[in-house]
Symmetry: C2
Subunit: 292 residues, 2 copies
Amino acid sequence: MSASLELVEVSPRDGLQNERAILPTADKVELIARAVAAGARRIEVASFVNPARVPQMADAEAVIAALPRRADTIFIGLALNARGVLRALDTAIDEIGLVCVASDTFGARNQKQSSDQSVDMACESIRLAREAGRRVQVTIAVAFGCPFEGAVDPARVVAIARRLAAAGPREIAVADTIGVARPDEVARLVRLVREAVAPLPVRVHLHDTRGMGVANGLAAIEAGARTVDAAIGGTGGCPFAPGAAGNTATEAMAYALPEAFGLDLPRLVETARWLDARLGRTPTSAVARSLG
Amino acid sequence: MSASLELVEVSPRDGLQNERAILPTADKVELIARAVAAGARRIEVASFVNPARVPQMADAEAVIAALPRRADTIFIGLALNARGVLRALDTAIDEIGLVCVASDTFGARNQKQSSDQSVDMACESIRLAREAGRRVQVTIAVAFGCPFEGAVDPARVVAIARRLAAAGPREIAVADTIGVARPDEVARLVRLVREAVAPLPVRVHLHDTRGMGVANGLAAIEAGARTVDAAIGGTGGCPFAPGAAGNTATEAMAYALPEAFGLDLPRLVETARWLDARLGRTPTSAVARSLG
């Protein structure tokens, strides 16, 4: 099992996006370089969104221009629409990540779109990126629960995954954006989506809001997910649960599965502490606190 | 699976024992009554140890005299030696829990005993309690890792479990006293100990120091453990990792397996917040923080 697993380091993008403090470009580049030094080989580094809405990501192009390039490392930039994809294509980003939502209310509040509209837009963006010859994958957000609608029907997520798969991404992810999923729910949805989109690989994006991040990640892997997202320090918070932990901490996944991801635990812990200090953030990562 | 699982609520004993603030007897009794109201049916309520060494437990007899008695609820008192068992036998406590250690250095520092001596004493105490007709079980502490010696050899723990089983306890537990275990290690040790002591049931006592509590609990259950210890609020701290979480939070296990333990999640969360306030403790339970 171990050799085929992968962890996507999302601290530079999802980790920072929900933190209050704006990190200077140089610090973002240092965070990415530290992640690479700790063994990360696939890293979400920026998002091509409206800088007026997401000031933390206003320097996307500058971060990408300064990336510590390596032949074995893939850098991901996020886009929500064709405009974002076009911006991404103007950079040297290796992979474009797209996002659609499984809940109409979440979509309406977050991006003024229904779930269906967000899937249409993601499919169009996937095709745009593919035509340009760029690696592209897609994430289904709020795939387990929505802060406004509650539980999300797995059948709905499976139907979305099928539509996305037809557009030809390299990978499909299901995201527990607000950290409400239970391990059995994660295992079930991963199995259903895998069956629906095989042979496409399935990634999971899990938040630790209720302390289920590690258990959910292990359940996803057990159910056949090949790749898990995680963020150094458990950064990312949750706009719907102030003060809560954010993404599952990279160092927690590395602790739970020490052989699986090729990561250097002491370096991750050191970087988590560095990042918390840079952000003026109260540490939420149990591994970083207890091993630091 | 669900129907056969059990959670032992340990906040009134292990949860409080490593917290700085001394809770008055009336508050301990209220905590126990709240746990019962939330569905707990097996609760560790006191330990019969030297009050000079553990002031938090000095009122063991008073707590037991004031317990909210129910025919379907078992209250456990902890003892470390024959003197503790004799004190326990003088009370109406339903079950006596004994403890031995898997590490010589931990034993020497904690109770001035080698591991072997602690096992001998536990066996003697088990026989004493049995002869008195009292329910009795035993826990192997630092069964995964020792703060002084590092990793503990599973073969050593299995050998201890066999010796303990011969003394006739109702149940044997393995404890990750300092919260260093990984899910695969928990699953492995539970399997080995089960094979060694069958048909005796195996319980696990897991700490959340490194955020592995839920994942480890699920791994233990998957490996055949019937019972898990947990503490409301994740109380219990860790003397070897200041500021760290303590026991796995009861509300986290109840969130992960909502049908398994017959527990009322909102009542657990409310009690976690009440207990943290009573102890003047910074909340460490993600479930209590995000659902409260």
